[in-house]
């Protein structure tokens, strides 16, 4: 096992109504996925400002997956606002020479086990390959 202090951590912001129970469903199926994943339950990821994502990378988070409800978002208009925000974050990431693949916006439903595993594995492959983020 890799020593935990060098762990390349993936933060997952999972919506309370879709993706978080989706992650529970993966657990119930006992599907294994990388351990370096930290799932935080959120009401709507639209609440996070651009700086939150940059701060996370600065603090040493290697990848962030936003698992939203997508078009099934219970807050009308939130998904669109979120997508716009993420575009803005990408611009800021480029300015700071951060690989924008470290941040991904997805939609995961309550029983989307395969989609969940795919996203997590893809992000893990990426962060293992490109390593910890380097920021000033």
């Amino acid at each position: 096992m890799e020593s935990p202090d060098k762990e390349k951590k993936i933060l997952i912001l999972a919506t309370d109504s879709c993706a978080y129970p989706g992650a529970d469903s993966v657990g119930q199926a006992h599907s294994s996925y990388p351990a370096n994943t930290y799932i935080l339950r959120v009401r709507a990821p639209v609440m996070f400002p651009e700086q939150f994502y940059l701060d996370c990378f600065k603090k040493g988070i290697s990848g962030i997956i936003i698992m939203s409800c997508g078009e099934e978002c219970p807050y009308e208009g939130a998904y669109k606002a979120l997508a716009t925000r993420i575009d803005a974050v990408y611009q800021l990431m480029k300015k700071q020479d951060l690989d924008i693949r470290r941040l991904r916006l997805t939609a995961i439903c309550t029983v989307c086990n395969r989609a969940f595993l795919k996203e997590v594995n893809l992000m893990n492959d990426l962060v293992q390959e490109i390593g910890l983020p380097e920021m000033d």
Binding site: P21, G27, I39, E76
Partner: protein, 616 residues
């Protein structure tokens, strides 16, 4: 940022130093893969944690007792439970805290079963469990006691529209004990249903149903009916709406005695107009539909007097009494063509848009049964009158409806099936004995071209959304692409509008039968009853909160807000109306001075969680 603000910001962070952490073995489900005692040891050293305990089943009475005892002893004031998915036992632990006279919101949950022990094992699992417990501790330290938002509500509902759905909704709500005002713009109760004779498929008389409902409504002590009355203003929020209505009182004798006087911005007043405010708690919209009016020339409508609509036919046949031959306008009707889907199921590129570029792409749901019901009635009452039915699909979906279709075949109604791309043509008949003929490529006989001479063509016109653009803009109601009012979600919230406290009943939502409209109306009344029955509306405490000391009054939050009216600038500061806030946090992201945050799910808490996850 200026100094005083910075100071204030630091002061506002009151971290709890009395956090209790309770880690569950889950009888091996967790402890087989995670070293639970090691997690406990780690938790005990985390900032703010005063006690960390383990139990084989934290959800058991014994496990819960650990928490309640520590709370009662004053040892802790924040609780973190690390166990299974929060969906399973979050309410259990909140309940335990409440039993110990604690506030249920001082609790956070670490999911170390579904997210840890069931997907991995060994050192990695223990390490991850520690991190997740750490994140929960980080959040718990910043949790505040919250109380559900309570809005005193009026035990009063206003129903807009006095058709069948409006009557049913008013009666249901009033029987429950709510006070009801029903407003109707015309002098009549009964709406579109009053145009009907008997109702398909079971044949109840529309007049009986309407009279029965209207009598109960008019005699009900909890209901005030206002006819000639329109909504002219809308204000307030769930539990406390103020509706401005104008009621017209007509007294013809009045006209002679008082020649009208000029009212500024209105005109000369001939009737007495009274404007008043209805103080209400919820609104049920039951504004109904309007019948599709065919375009001039559509299937010969307007060009040939022998082309009429189904509602016209119902009205005219209803007047014929005691004869076994059908005569309308002094003409003997030997054969009738009935054409389905007129103004419904229109297809872009095939059908012509209306003047506003709209097509009615939806099915009007009720016309098939209505046509067949009339066809059977005519065949049975006037056996010499032949019926030719031109359809695309026969949609007798509901209980008793397929029987109408079977019966029509028994009654020797002749069916022709046409494709939307090749609609039947209605033209003057080549047979001088008949005024009109219908030509069709019949899909039932291998697309044979058939000419049917007829005395009368009946167009089964569909339903269109009623013209309520004034109400829509006043109340800011969402409207679908079909122009009917749009519910929040067809299954999760089928009679609820996005404006909380406003409900939908009947055909203002979509075409439906009387039975379906009454179900919708009663369901809407049920929601209003749940909402207002207690005289108190309890809402989630997870709403935005402004720190006015930090607010610079940029208004960015107001622009970002997804709920109309939840945020406003008052005296240069942002002000939240909790009853309207959705708790999505869209405002939190855009505040340049971090003056607004979401109660219970704050940005600060997330930052603390991330800090704990990355902590060495």
């Amino acid at each position: 940022m200026s100094d005083p603000k910075e100071k204030k910001n630091e002061n506002s962070v009151n971290r709890s130093e009395k956090i209790g952490v309770y880690v569950c073995y889950c009888g091996g489900n967790i402890s087989d893969h995670v070293d639970v005692e090691k997690v406990r040891d780690a938790a005990e050293k985390m900032p703010g944690v005063v006690v960390a305990r383990t139990n084989s089943f934290m959800c058991s009475d014994l496990g819960q007792d650990l928490i309640t005892q520590d709370l009662k002893d004053g040892l802790i004031d924040r609780v973190v439970v690390a166990s299974c998915a929060p969906s399973l036992h979050e309410s259990t632990f909140r309940g335990a805290i409440t039993r110990a006279n604690g506030n249920p919101y001082i609790y956070d949950h670490a999911n170390i079963r579904e997210h840890v022990s069931w997907i991995m094992h060994g050192e990695k699992a223990t390490f991850k469990a520690e991190k997740l417990v750490g994140a929960a501790v980080g959040k718990a330290g910043l949790l505040e006691k919250l109380d559900p938002i309570q809005v005193n509500s009026r035990k009063h509902v206003t129903v807009i529209g006095g058709g069948i759905a409006g009557l049913k909704a008013a009666l249901s709500a009033a029987d429950f004990g709510l006070n009801v005002v029903l407003i109707e713009k015309t002098p009549f109760l009964g709406g579109n249903a009053a145009m009907l004779d008997k109702i398909a498929p079971f044949g109840e008389k529309a007049s009986d149903l309407i009279s029965q409902l209207a009598k109960s409504v008019l005699e009900h002590k909890n209901i005030t009916v206002k006819t000639h009355c329109r909504l002219v203003g809308f204000d307030g929020y769930i539990g406390k709406f103020d509706l401005s209505v104008k009621t017209v009182f007509t007294d013809p004798s009045d006209h002679e005695q008082h020649p009208g006087h000029f009212v500024p911005f209105e005109g000369v007043e001939t009737d007495t107009v009274v404007e008043e405010i209805i103080e209400t708690g919820a609104v049920i919209l039951a504004t109904g539909f309007k019948s599709y009016r065919p375009d001039h020339g559509e299937y010969g409508f307007g060009k040939h007097k022998e082309v009429i609509t189904l509602p016209d036919l119902i009205k005219q046949v209803g007047k014929v009494e005691g004869s076994s031959t059908l005569e309308l306008d002094g003409r003997k009707i030997r054969s009738i063509a009935m054409i389905h889907c007129v103004g419904s199921r229109q297809i872009p590129g095939i059908h012509k848009e209306d003047e506003n570029g709209y097509l009615n792409e939806y099915c009007s749901r009720t016309c098939c049964s209505s046509v067949l019901f009339m066809a059977n009635k005519i065949r049975e009452q006037f056996p010499d009158t032949n019926i030719y039915d031109f359809y695309r699909d026969i949609r007798t979906y509901g209980r008793g409806q397929e029987d109408l279709y079977d019966k029509a075949s028994e009654n020797r109604v002749v069916f022709f099936r046409f494709d939307a791309t090749e609609s039947p043509q209605v033209i003057p008949s080549s047979d001088s004995d008949y005024p009109l003929q219908v030509t069709v490529k019949d899909g039932l006989t291998f697309n044979e071209e058939i000419e049917v001479p007829v005395d009368l063509v009946v167009l089964a016109t569909g339903m269109e959304a009623g013209d309520i653009s004034d109400i829509v803009s006043m109340m800011k109601l969402p409207v679908g692409t079909d122009k009917f009012l749009q519910e929040v979600h067809p299954k999760l919230a089928p009679v609820e509008m996005a404006v909380s406290g406003v409900f939908l009943a009947g055909t203002c939502q979509a075409p439906m039968t009387i039975g379906e409209a009454c179900n919708g109306a009663a369901a809407a009344a049920a929601k209003a009853a749940s909402l207002l029955g207690k005289g108190l509306v309890e809402l989630d405490p997870y709403v935005a909160e402004v720190d006015t000391a930090l607010c610079d009054g940029t208004g960015a939050c107001v622009d970002a807000c997804l709920a109309d009216g939840a945020l406003a600038m008052v005296d240069g500061k942002a002000l939240v109306t909790p009853a309207l806030c959705l708790g999505c946090g869209a405002c939190v992201a855009v505040c340049p001075s971090r003056a607004i945050d979401l109660k219970g799910w704050s940005l600060k808490q997330y930052e603390a969680m991330v800090d704990m996850i990355v902590a060495e």
